[in-house]
Symmetry: C2
Subunit: 188 residues, 2 copies
DNA sequence: AGCTGATGACTGACTAGACAGACATCTATA
DNA sequence: TATAGATGTCTGTCTAGTCAGTCATCAGCT
Protein backbone atom coordinates (compact mmCIF):
# COMPACT_ATOMS: atom_id res chain seq x y z
CA UNK A 1 0.00 0.00 0.00
CA UNK A 2 0.86 3.62 -0.39
CA UNK A 3 -0.19 6.78 1.42
CA UNK A 4 -3.75 6.33 2.72
CA UNK A 5 -6.43 9.02 2.41
CA UNK A 6 -6.98 10.81 5.66
CA UNK A 7 -10.43 10.79 7.22
CA UNK A 8 -9.34 13.96 8.96
CA UNK A 9 -8.89 15.88 5.70
CA UNK A 10 -12.20 14.60 4.43
CA UNK A 11 -13.94 15.95 7.50
CA UNK A 12 -12.04 19.21 7.28
CA UNK A 13 -13.29 19.69 3.71
CA UNK A 14 -16.88 18.87 4.62
CA UNK A 15 -17.01 21.16 7.60
CA UNK A 16 -15.23 23.91 5.68
CA UNK A 17 -17.84 23.52 2.95
CA UNK A 18 -20.61 23.94 5.53
CA UNK A 19 -19.04 27.14 6.85
CA UNK A 20 -18.37 28.60 3.43
CA UNK A 21 -21.81 27.71 2.07
CA UNK A 22 -23.40 29.30 5.13
CA UNK A 23 -21.61 32.58 4.52
CA UNK A 24 -21.28 32.72 0.73
CA UNK A 25 -24.02 30.46 -0.59
CA UNK A 26 -23.77 27.57 -3.02
CA UNK A 27 -21.90 29.66 -5.59
CA UNK A 28 -18.83 29.61 -3.36
CA UNK A 29 -15.68 28.61 -5.29
CA UNK A 30 -14.13 25.25 -4.51
CA UNK A 31 -10.85 27.12 -4.09
CA UNK A 32 -12.27 28.97 -1.10
CA UNK A 33 -13.57 25.76 0.47
CA UNK A 34 -10.20 24.08 -0.01
CA UNK A 35 -8.36 27.04 1.52
CA UNK A 36 -10.76 27.15 4.47
CA UNK A 37 -10.11 23.43 4.98
CA UNK A 38 -6.35 24.02 4.87
CA UNK A 39 -5.72 21.83 1.82
CA UNK A 40 -4.76 22.55 -1.76
CA UNK A 41 -7.37 23.14 -4.41
CA UNK A 42 -6.61 19.87 -6.16
CA UNK A 43 -6.83 17.84 -2.96
CA UNK A 44 -10.53 18.55 -2.73
CA UNK A 45 -10.97 16.59 -5.95
CA UNK A 46 -9.15 13.53 -4.66
CA UNK A 47 -11.80 13.28 -1.95
CA UNK A 48 -14.83 14.34 -4.02
CA UNK A 49 -15.02 13.77 -7.77
CA UNK A 50 -16.98 16.95 -8.42
CA UNK A 51 -18.29 19.94 -6.54
CA UNK A 52 -21.79 18.49 -6.80
CA UNK A 53 -20.59 15.24 -5.20
CA UNK A 54 -19.24 17.17 -2.25
CA UNK A 55 -22.53 19.01 -1.86
CA UNK A 56 -24.56 15.81 -2.05
CA UNK A 57 -22.43 14.05 0.55
CA UNK A 58 -22.55 17.08 2.80
CA UNK A 59 -26.33 17.23 2.52
CA UNK A 60 -26.75 13.62 3.60
CA UNK A 61 -24.19 13.97 6.39
CA UNK A 62 -25.89 17.05 7.84
CA UNK A 63 -29.33 15.45 7.71
CA UNK A 64 -27.95 12.40 9.47
CA UNK A 65 -26.14 14.49 12.05
CA UNK A 66 -29.23 16.48 12.90
CA UNK A 67 -31.38 13.36 13.12
CA UNK A 68 -28.86 11.65 15.35
CA UNK A 69 -28.60 14.69 17.60
CA UNK A 70 -32.41 14.79 17.84
CA UNK A 71 -32.69 11.16 18.88
CA UNK A 72 -29.80 11.14 21.35
CA UNK A 73 -31.03 10.12 24.79
CA UNK A 74 -34.63 9.70 23.68
CA UNK A 75 -36.78 8.65 26.67
CA UNK A 76 -38.30 5.65 24.91
CA UNK A 77 -40.60 4.76 27.78
CA UNK A 78 -42.08 8.21 28.23
CA UNK A 79 -45.36 9.22 26.61
CA UNK A 80 -45.45 10.30 22.98
CA UNK A 81 -45.68 14.01 23.62
CA UNK A 82 -42.63 13.90 25.88
CA UNK A 83 -40.67 11.98 23.28
CA UNK A 84 -41.67 14.38 20.53
CA UNK A 85 -40.71 17.32 22.69
CA UNK A 86 -37.32 15.76 23.39
CA UNK A 87 -36.79 15.31 19.68
CA UNK A 88 -37.90 18.84 18.92
CA UNK A 89 -35.74 20.56 21.52
CA UNK A 90 -32.68 18.52 20.61
CA UNK A 91 -33.13 19.48 16.96
CA UNK A 92 -33.42 23.13 17.97
CA UNK A 93 -30.36 22.82 20.22
CA UNK A 94 -28.39 21.38 17.34
CA UNK A 95 -29.45 24.28 15.12
CA UNK A 96 -28.43 26.84 17.74
CA UNK A 97 -25.12 25.12 18.47
CA UNK A 98 -24.18 24.78 14.80
CA UNK A 99 -25.80 27.72 13.06
CA UNK A 100 -23.50 27.36 10.05
CA UNK A 101 -24.53 23.74 9.55
CA UNK A 102 -28.17 24.67 9.80
CA UNK A 103 -27.77 27.46 7.26
CA UNK A 104 -25.83 25.23 4.91
CA UNK A 105 -28.45 22.52 5.17
CA UNK A 106 -31.21 25.03 4.42
CA UNK A 107 -29.37 26.12 1.27
CA UNK A 108 -28.60 22.60 0.14
CA UNK A 109 -32.19 21.47 0.69
CA UNK A 110 -33.49 23.86 -1.95
CA UNK A 111 -30.65 23.31 -4.40
CA UNK A 112 -31.22 21.44 -7.62
CA UNK A 113 -27.71 20.01 -7.38
CA UNK A 114 -29.01 17.55 -4.79
CA UNK A 115 -29.97 14.30 -6.46
CA UNK A 116 -33.07 12.24 -5.80
CA UNK A 117 -30.80 9.54 -4.40
CA UNK A 118 -29.34 11.94 -1.83
CA UNK A 119 -32.79 13.09 -0.81
CA UNK A 120 -33.78 9.47 -0.35
CA UNK A 121 -30.67 8.87 1.75
CA UNK A 122 -31.53 11.93 3.78
CA UNK A 123 -35.01 10.57 4.39
CA UNK A 124 -33.58 7.25 5.43
CA UNK A 125 -31.30 8.95 7.94
CA UNK A 126 -34.40 10.54 9.44
CA UNK A 127 -36.29 7.28 9.74
CA UNK A 128 -36.08 7.26 13.53
CA UNK A 129 -37.64 10.70 13.63
CA UNK A 130 -40.23 9.70 11.05
CA UNK A 131 -41.27 6.68 13.10
CA UNK A 132 -42.08 8.83 16.09
CA UNK A 133 -43.91 11.36 13.97
CA UNK A 134 -45.87 8.55 12.36
CA UNK A 135 -47.17 7.47 15.77
CA UNK A 136 -48.23 11.03 16.52
CA UNK A 137 -50.00 11.28 13.18
CA UNK A 138 -51.79 7.94 13.42
CA UNK A 139 -53.50 8.79 16.67
CA UNK A 140 -54.47 12.37 15.85
CA UNK A 141 -56.47 14.64 13.55
CA UNK A 142 -54.11 14.05 10.66
CA UNK A 143 -54.61 10.30 10.60
CA UNK A 144 -56.07 10.57 7.09
CA UNK A 145 -53.39 12.87 5.73
CA UNK A 146 -50.47 11.26 3.89
CA UNK A 147 -47.31 10.86 5.94
CA UNK A 148 -45.28 12.91 3.46
CA UNK A 149 -47.49 15.88 4.12
CA UNK A 150 -47.06 15.62 7.87
CA UNK A 151 -43.29 15.33 7.44
CA UNK A 152 -43.28 18.40 5.20
CA UNK A 153 -45.24 20.40 7.75
CA UNK A 154 -43.01 19.36 10.63
CA UNK A 155 -39.93 20.30 8.62
CA UNK A 156 -41.33 23.65 7.60
CA UNK A 157 -42.52 24.60 11.08
CA UNK A 158 -39.13 23.46 12.35
CA UNK A 159 -37.31 25.60 9.79
CA UNK A 160 -39.43 28.62 10.61
CA UNK A 161 -38.79 28.13 14.31
CA UNK A 162 -35.03 27.73 13.86
CA UNK A 163 -34.92 30.79 11.64
CA UNK A 164 -36.73 32.79 14.28
CA UNK A 165 -34.57 31.48 17.10
CA UNK A 166 -31.37 32.52 15.37
CA UNK A 167 -32.82 35.94 14.58
CA UNK A 168 -33.86 36.50 18.17
CA UNK A 169 -31.55 34.32 20.28
CA UNK A 170 -32.46 36.01 23.55
CA UNK A 171 -35.93 34.45 23.47
CA UNK A 172 -34.79 31.28 21.73
CA UNK A 173 -36.16 28.96 24.43
CA UNK A 174 -39.54 30.63 24.30
CA UNK A 175 -39.70 30.37 20.51
CA UNK A 176 -38.71 26.71 20.61
CA UNK A 177 -41.57 26.03 23.01
CA UNK A 178 -44.04 28.06 20.93
CA UNK A 179 -42.97 26.21 17.78
CA UNK A 180 -43.45 22.86 19.43
CA UNK A 181 -46.85 23.79 20.82
CA UNK A 182 -47.87 24.87 17.32
CA UNK A 183 -46.71 21.56 15.86
CA UNK A 184 -48.48 19.64 18.59
CA UNK A 185 -51.71 21.50 17.91
CA UNK A 186 -51.33 20.53 14.26
CA UNK A 187 -50.96 16.87 15.19
CA UNK A 188 -53.63 16.50 17.89
CA UNK B 1 -38.80 61.68 -28.66
CA UNK B 2 -37.30 58.29 -29.33
CA UNK B 3 -38.55 54.73 -29.31
CA UNK B 4 -40.25 54.15 -25.97
CA UNK B 5 -39.55 51.09 -23.88
CA UNK B 6 -42.24 48.51 -24.26
CA UNK B 7 -44.14 47.33 -21.21
CA UNK B 8 -44.79 44.19 -23.20
CA UNK B 9 -41.11 43.31 -23.53
CA UNK B 10 -40.56 44.06 -19.88
CA UNK B 11 -43.28 41.61 -18.95
CA UNK B 12 -41.99 39.08 -21.44
CA UNK B 13 -38.57 39.19 -19.77
CA UNK B 14 -40.02 38.88 -16.29
CA UNK B 15 -42.27 35.96 -17.12
CA UNK B 16 -39.50 34.28 -19.10
CA UNK B 17 -37.28 34.68 -16.06
CA UNK B 18 -39.90 33.00 -13.87
CA UNK B 19 -40.15 30.06 -16.28
CA UNK B 20 -36.39 29.67 -16.67
CA UNK B 21 -35.70 30.00 -12.94
CA UNK B 22 -38.35 27.39 -12.23
CA UNK B 23 -36.71 24.89 -14.54
CA UNK B 24 -33.01 25.74 -14.30
CA UNK B 25 -32.61 27.51 -10.99
CA UNK B 26 -31.05 30.88 -10.22
CA UNK B 27 -27.85 30.00 -12.04
CA UNK B 28 -29.68 30.24 -15.34
CA UNK B 29 -27.76 32.40 -17.86
CA UNK B 30 -29.27 35.74 -18.78
CA UNK B 31 -28.82 34.68 -22.40
CA UNK B 32 -31.34 31.88 -21.91
CA UNK B 33 -33.83 34.21 -20.24
CA UNK B 34 -33.49 36.71 -23.08
CA UNK B 35 -33.95 34.01 -25.70
CA UNK B 36 -37.00 32.63 -23.91
CA UNK B 37 -38.42 36.16 -23.85
CA UNK B 38 -37.74 36.58 -27.56
CA UNK B 39 -35.34 39.50 -27.21
CA UNK B 40 -31.62 39.93 -27.72
CA UNK B 41 -29.16 39.39 -24.93
CA UNK B 42 -28.35 43.07 -24.64
CA UNK B 43 -31.99 44.14 -24.54
CA UNK B 44 -32.43 42.51 -21.17
CA UNK B 45 -29.95 45.03 -19.80
CA UNK B 46 -31.85 48.04 -21.13
CA UNK B 47 -34.77 46.94 -18.97
CA UNK B 48 -32.80 45.73 -15.95
CA UNK B 49 -29.39 47.09 -15.03
CA UNK B 50 -28.09 43.80 -13.68
CA UNK B 51 -29.22 40.22 -13.35
CA UNK B 52 -29.71 40.81 -9.62
CA UNK B 53 -31.99 43.77 -10.37
CA UNK B 54 -34.15 41.56 -12.55
CA UNK B 55 -34.36 38.97 -9.81
CA UNK B 56 -35.24 41.53 -7.16
CA UNK B 57 -38.00 43.06 -9.26
CA UNK B 58 -39.34 39.65 -10.14
CA UNK B 59 -39.40 38.67 -6.48
CA UNK B 60 -41.45 41.70 -5.47
CA UNK B 61 -43.78 41.33 -8.46
CA UNK B 62 -44.51 37.69 -7.69
CA UNK B 63 -45.13 38.39 -4.02
CA UNK B 64 -47.52 41.17 -4.96
CA UNK B 65 -49.27 39.05 -7.55
CA UNK B 66 -49.84 36.21 -5.12
CA UNK B 67 -51.07 38.57 -2.42
CA UNK B 68 -53.44 40.27 -4.81
CA UNK B 69 -54.78 36.95 -6.05
CA UNK B 70 -55.31 35.86 -2.44
CA UNK B 71 -57.30 38.95 -1.53
CA UNK B 72 -59.43 39.11 -4.69
CA UNK B 73 -63.10 38.93 -3.79
CA UNK B 74 -62.46 38.72 -0.05
CA UNK B 75 -65.80 38.46 1.82
CA UNK B 76 -65.04 41.32 4.21
CA UNK B 77 -68.25 40.91 6.21
CA UNK B 78 -67.90 37.18 6.80
CA UNK B 79 -66.36 35.81 9.99
CA UNK B 80 -62.61 35.64 10.39
CA UNK B 81 -62.24 31.94 9.70
CA UNK B 82 -64.18 32.26 6.43
CA UNK B 83 -62.02 35.18 5.35
CA UNK B 84 -58.84 33.31 6.21
CA UNK B 85 -60.05 30.29 4.31
CA UNK B 86 -60.84 32.43 1.28
CA UNK B 87 -57.35 33.86 1.41
CA UNK B 88 -55.77 30.45 1.81
CA UNK B 89 -57.64 28.77 -1.02
CA UNK B 90 -57.02 31.63 -3.40
CA UNK B 91 -53.30 31.51 -2.63
CA UNK B 92 -53.31 27.76 -3.28
CA UNK B 93 -55.27 28.28 -6.52
CA UNK B 94 -52.72 30.78 -7.67
CA UNK B 95 -49.91 28.34 -6.93
CA UNK B 96 -51.65 25.55 -8.85
CA UNK B 97 -52.48 27.81 -11.80
CA UNK B 98 -48.95 29.20 -12.07
CA UNK B 99 -46.64 26.45 -10.86
CA UNK B 100 -43.63 28.04 -12.53
CA UNK B 101 -44.21 31.32 -10.70
CA UNK B 102 -44.55 29.51 -7.41
CA UNK B 103 -41.35 27.57 -7.98
CA UNK B 104 -39.49 30.71 -9.02
CA UNK B 105 -40.73 32.55 -5.95
CA UNK B 106 -39.61 29.71 -3.71
CA UNK B 107 -36.12 29.87 -5.21
CA UNK B 108 -35.91 33.65 -5.04
CA UNK B 109 -37.09 33.70 -1.42
CA UNK B 110 -34.04 31.76 -0.25
CA UNK B 111 -31.55 33.56 -2.50
CA UNK B 112 -29.03 35.95 -1.04
CA UNK B 113 -29.31 38.09 -4.17
CA UNK B 114 -32.57 39.47 -2.80
CA UNK B 115 -31.95 42.70 -0.92
CA UNK B 116 -33.44 43.72 2.39
CA UNK B 117 -35.29 46.48 0.54
CA UNK B 118 -36.96 43.98 -1.76
CA UNK B 119 -37.96 41.81 1.16
CA UNK B 120 -39.47 44.86 2.81
CA UNK B 121 -41.35 45.67 -0.41
CA UNK B 122 -42.56 42.08 -0.52
CA UNK B 123 -43.81 42.38 3.04
CA UNK B 124 -45.57 45.60 2.20
CA UNK B 125 -47.30 43.97 -0.74
CA UNK B 126 -48.58 41.35 1.69
CA UNK B 127 -49.90 43.86 4.20
CA UNK B 128 -53.53 43.02 3.44
CA UNK B 129 -52.82 39.39 4.17
CA UNK B 130 -50.83 40.29 7.26
CA UNK B 131 -53.68 42.39 8.65
CA UNK B 132 -56.06 39.45 8.50
CA UNK B 133 -53.50 37.13 10.04
CA UNK B 134 -52.86 39.65 12.80
CA UNK B 135 -56.53 39.54 13.77
CA UNK B 136 -56.40 35.75 13.89
CA UNK B 137 -53.29 35.83 16.04
CA UNK B 138 -54.54 38.46 18.48
CA UNK B 139 -57.61 36.44 19.43
CA UNK B 140 -55.95 33.04 19.70
CA UNK B 141 -53.34 30.95 21.46
CA UNK B 142 -50.50 32.78 19.75
CA UNK B 143 -51.45 36.17 21.10
CA UNK B 144 -48.14 36.34 22.98
CA UNK B 145 -46.00 35.18 20.06
CA UNK B 146 -44.36 37.85 17.89
CA UNK B 147 -46.17 38.55 14.64
CA UNK B 148 -43.07 37.72 12.61
CA UNK B 149 -43.13 34.23 13.98
CA UNK B 150 -46.77 33.74 13.06
CA UNK B 151 -46.11 35.05 9.55
CA UNK B 152 -43.17 32.68 9.20
CA UNK B 153 -45.26 29.72 10.26
CA UNK B 154 -48.10 30.61 7.90
CA UNK B 155 -45.65 30.98 5.04
CA UNK B 156 -43.94 27.71 5.81
CA UNK B 157 -47.14 25.70 6.23
CA UNK B 158 -48.36 27.34 3.01
CA UNK B 159 -45.17 26.39 1.17
CA UNK B 160 -45.36 22.82 2.40
CA UNK B 161 -48.99 22.59 1.34
CA UNK B 162 -48.32 24.03 -2.12
CA UNK B 163 -45.39 21.70 -2.58
CA UNK B 164 -47.54 18.75 -1.69
CA UNK B 165 -50.40 19.86 -3.91
CA UNK B 166 -48.17 20.10 -6.95
CA UNK B 167 -46.66 16.71 -6.17
CA UNK B 168 -50.08 15.08 -5.87
CA UNK B 169 -52.46 17.24 -7.91
CA UNK B 170 -55.25 14.66 -7.92
CA UNK B 171 -55.88 15.28 -4.23
CA UNK B 172 -54.94 18.94 -4.34
CA UNK B 173 -58.24 20.16 -2.93
CA UNK B 174 -58.01 17.75 -0.02
CA UNK B 175 -54.45 18.83 0.77
CA UNK B 176 -55.42 22.50 0.62
CA UNK B 177 -58.15 21.86 3.17
CA UNK B 178 -55.84 19.80 5.40
CA UNK B 179 -53.21 22.53 5.25
CA UNK B 180 -55.72 25.18 6.22
CA UNK B 181 -57.09 23.12 9.07
CA UNK B 182 -53.55 22.66 10.35
CA UNK B 183 -52.92 26.40 10.19
CA UNK B 184 -56.18 27.13 11.93
CA UNK B 185 -55.31 24.71 14.70
CA UNK B 186 -52.03 26.56 15.11
CA UNK B 187 -53.84 29.86 15.44
CA UNK B 188 -56.80 28.93 17.68
C1' DA C 1 -49.99 64.95 -44.79
C1' DG C 2 -45.21 64.24 -45.72
C1' DC C 3 -40.45 65.08 -44.50
C1' DT C 4 -36.45 65.27 -41.34
C1' DG C 5 -33.38 65.01 -37.67
C1' DA C 6 -32.75 63.76 -32.87
C1' DT C 7 -33.28 60.44 -29.50
C1' DG C 8 -32.81 56.22 -27.52
C1' DA C 9 -34.30 51.32 -27.87
C1' DC C 10 -32.57 46.98 -30.15
C1' DT C 11 -29.09 43.79 -31.69
C1' DG C 12 -25.52 40.28 -31.25
C1' DA C 13 -20.65 39.90 -31.48
C1' DC C 14 -17.26 40.72 -28.16
C1' DT C 15 -14.52 41.12 -23.71
C1' DA C 16 -12.85 40.50 -19.22
C1' DG C 17 -13.11 37.77 -15.37
C1' DA C 18 -14.18 33.75 -12.80
C1' DC C 19 -14.22 28.97 -11.88
C1' DA C 20 -14.25 23.68 -12.18
C1' DG C 21 -11.40 20.38 -12.96
C1' DA C 22 -6.90 18.45 -15.16
C1' DC C 23 -2.22 17.56 -14.88
C1' DA C 24 2.71 17.50 -14.19
C1' DT C 25 5.37 17.29 -10.31
C1' DC C 26 6.53 16.42 -5.65
C1' DT C 27 6.23 13.72 -1.32
C1' DA C 28 4.94 10.31 2.17
C1' DT C 29 4.11 5.62 3.10
C1' DA C 30 4.39 0.57 2.72
C1' DT D 1 11.44 1.55 -4.80
C1' DA D 2 6.62 1.32 -6.22
C1' DT D 3 2.39 3.30 -5.29
C1' DA D 4 -0.85 6.65 -4.43
C1' DG D 5 -1.97 10.98 -2.07
C1' DA D 6 -0.92 16.15 -2.13
C1' DT D 7 0.12 20.34 -4.44
C1' DG D 8 -0.77 24.47 -7.07
C1' DT D 9 -0.38 26.15 -11.61
C1' DC D 10 -2.71 26.02 -15.76
C1' DT D 11 -6.51 25.77 -19.18
C1' DG D 12 -10.90 25.42 -21.48
C1' DT D 13 -15.31 26.95 -20.78
C1' DC D 14 -18.91 29.74 -19.38
C1' DT D 15 -21.27 34.09 -18.59
C1' DA D 16 -22.47 38.99 -17.00
C1' DG D 17 -22.29 42.99 -18.98
C1' DT D 18 -20.49 46.29 -22.94
C1' DC D 19 -20.61 48.67 -27.22
C1' DA D 20 -20.68 50.19 -32.00
C1' DG D 21 -23.81 50.07 -35.40
C1' DT D 22 -28.81 49.77 -36.82
C1' DC D 23 -33.47 50.94 -36.72
C1' DA D 24 -38.12 52.48 -34.86
C1' DT D 25 -40.54 56.37 -33.03
C1' DC D 26 -41.85 61.01 -32.37
C1' DA D 27 -41.84 66.40 -32.46
C1' DG D 28 -41.70 70.12 -35.10
C1' DC D 29 -41.56 72.15 -39.46
C1' DT D 30 -43.15 73.02 -44.13
Amino acid sequence: MAKPKSEEKRNAIMSAAARVIASQGLGAPTAVIAQEAGVANGTLFTYFETKADLFNELYVALKAERASASLKGLPVTADLRKQMFHLWSHAMDWAMTHPEKRRALAQLSVSDEISEASRAAGHKAMSGVARLLEQSRAGGVMRNAPMGFVVAIMNSVGDATMEFMTQDPVNAKKHAKAGFDALWRVLT
